[in-house]
Symmetry: C2
Subunit: 408 residues, 2 copies
């Protein structure tokens, strides 16, 4: 069961001027399932994205990169039920066919359309099912369909994921709304999973790539469920420019900072929602590593802990078998790490120092923290000033069940 | 259940001249459990080892390295039920106390004794239980107690692991016998787990470190269960020199090669046994990567597949959800990998080529291979001439069960 996570109230997902969403059912994996989402963007919208670094990247990821390079995106089309990954040249052809169909329908060029797919890998994309659903999705286009879209992009997600913020930039109200899907095959290597965050703020095209990267680095690039980096990860940032603010033209000003903060808050909420709704999750875990020499070694140690099946099964069992955390720190690959200098806390309880168990630690203390649904592991390396945090979930019988039965 | 693995017939584990083994019960974790093994080596035995690279290496690993440097090892003492890892200065003191006690009992110096521990991390070693058991183990010393020792060093292992070979070197019969334990927290980063392989061959001390490294690299460094590198991994090679062969003095001669082959066969059998008996295993998986530029990228790709929870749960379910294998190849970290040039086979069935599913592949073929208990995944990269193989097992409900309930 998702940990302290419920689907957002549809009314809480605020419309973003210049962005309309439409849903349809193509029945790709299951008849009647609403599995097609169309997002229409007003002319002049700025769009940037970050994508999986998996070498077996999906056909839609390849097309997205090509189309983004043209600089004029007017529509996004998303299907679930099939990843269109590991599909070779035929996969590219079918992704392009989908873009073509959207372009014809809406009066754009093919390269104005970004395609996204998520679902099973290595199976041909059923374009024959997708194409007839596109006019239905078009007819459904409306500014307040964010919640429907959040549901329509789900795969093994139990809970739909969405968040909104409103801020003021230069006296103008600016809205940020985002949706995401992701529950398994979650391990960041750029952006992870599918995430779409839109704002009506006006911002210079030249700043978009920096902004999407900065937001991804503090949100989607800080979450792991199972250590598997997907073939289809995409995080797309949309700025429709309709809020009426003076265009943000510099990354060093207060307006850029304010927008980035709002976007990051939405993206972090979505990223944490993925770990809360991680496949089979019963605990939400925050791994905070501090006092490192650089961000890379922070992440290395945080991910070693967050990925360890032994750590994750101990958390599932609420068993403070904390030696497994030390083992993960030790094998993370920081070869000159001084284990006698570091400290480890479980919640507020000091667990380890001087290379061993803290004298003050008791099993009763550890067991009390372990009973919580949200647990923070904090590691102080005492060798520098850099901190980083990773979110994950535990490893339960249901993870095995979900992934053993995924295609049945 | 272990995959095609039964405990070796005690008579099949051949005595090695110059090596005697004794067992005792210290009741470290469970009363009455035979958890102490003492191995006595004849004077003049050569001993070398490779150890975990985990920075949180256990106290006995630290002592082993110190004592091996002195070049005169006469006894090994092994306990299960407690890893004496994450135990700081006090852990070192207790490991040394154990060596002291063995030394006094047998008339050696402390540095003639190698200590080994395996079990739970972060808890103090109960020397008060271990010391009284040592004279019992000494009284039990006998050349034919290899099978008893194989049982006494087990932790979550279901099946005891041992193997023997006999070869002829310079007209003299040479015996190789080895035992090992390991089932979880198995991921090589040097040697993995506890492994002890002894021969009565005479070999120059100067060659021992090279030999143990070469044998580890083709055996214990090719196995993973859960991707967790233990704090206590140790692989020890013993050569008692009592076979009567002319001392092997060069690594380039036929005698060295013959001995290395026999040692490697025993070590490979033991390493494969660990995957066959991996925690919760229902399938034994061989991941063979060929046509790579170097061994490092072979291993990188093989381990990405072998560690992936998504691949492992699909194998548990006998579901040919083979896109997960492609995804793992793609995120393994070989950044210039051409996915259109590689091929993937499941057993003898060609699954993927030209960046996608092979035209000849059918689900029926994949499902047939998946029903087997032993399955080979073969990946041909077509970018070089180097091959490497990794052994692993699937990921089942029982893995979660075993590790969630480990301390109860």
């Amino acid at each position: 069961m998702p940990v302290n996570l419920t689907a957002p109230d549809p009314a809480s997902l605020l419309p973003v001027a210049g962005v309309r969403l439409g849903i349809a059912s193509a029945g790709i994996k299951k008849p009647g399932r609403r599995d097609i989402t169309l997002i229409e963007l007003a002319a002049g919208s700025q769009v940037a994205g970050v994508f999986t670094q998996n070498r077996f990247c999906a056909a839609p990821v390849t097309l997205c990169k090509q189309h983004l390079a043209t600089g004029n995106i007017r529509a996004l089309v998303i299907n679930t039920g099939n990843a269109n990954a590991g599909t070779g040249g035929e996969g590219l052809k079918r992704a392009r066919q989908t873009c073509d169909a959207v372009a014809q329908l809406m009066g754009y060029a093919t390269e104005n359309v970004l395609p996204f797919s998520t679902g099973v890998i290595l199976e041909p994309l059923p374009v024959d099912k997708i194409l007839p659903a596109l006019p239905v999705a078009q007819a459904d286009l409306a500014p307040n369909h964010w919640s429907d879209a959040a549901h329509a992009i789900m795969t093994t997600d139990i809970v739909a994921k969405g968040a909104s913020r409103q801020i003021s930039i230069g006296g103008k109200a600016v809205t940020v709304t985002g949706i995401a899907k992701g529950s398994g095959m979650i391990h960041p290597n750029m952006a992870t999973m599918l995430g779409f965050v839109a704002t009506d703020a006006a911002i210079a095209a030249a700043l978009m790539q920096q902004l999407v990267k900065e937001v991804a680095d503090v949100s989607f690039n800080c979450v792991t469920v199972d250590g598997d980096t997907s073939t289809n990860d995409s995080f797309i940032l949309i700025a429709s420019g309709q809020a009426g603010n003076t265009e943000i033209a510099s990354a060093s000003g207060a307006d850029y900072a304010a927008l980035k903060t709002a976007l990051s808050e939405v993206a972090i909420e979505l990223a944490q929602a993925m770990a809360r709704d991680g496949e089979g999750a019963t605990k939400f875990m925050t791994i905070a590593v501090e006092g490192a020499r650089d961000r890379a070694e922070c992440k290395q140690i945080a991910y070693a802990i967050a990925r360890s099946p032994l750590v994750k099964t101990a958390f599932f069992a609420s068993d403070p078998n904390l030696g497994r955390i030390l083992a993960a720190i030790g094998y993370a690959g920081v070869t000159d790490l001084d284990v006698n200098a570091l400290k480890v806390w479980l919640g507020d309880v000091l667990v380890a120092e001087n290379g061993g168990r803290a004298a003050s630690y008791t099993e009763v203390q550890g067991a009390a923290v372990m009973r919580e649904a949200e647990i923070t592991v904090r590691v102080a390396l005492n060798r520098g000033t850099v901190n980083a945090t990773v979110w994950t979930c535990d490893f339960s019988y249901d993870y095995v069940k979900i992934n053993a039965e995924y295609r049945t």
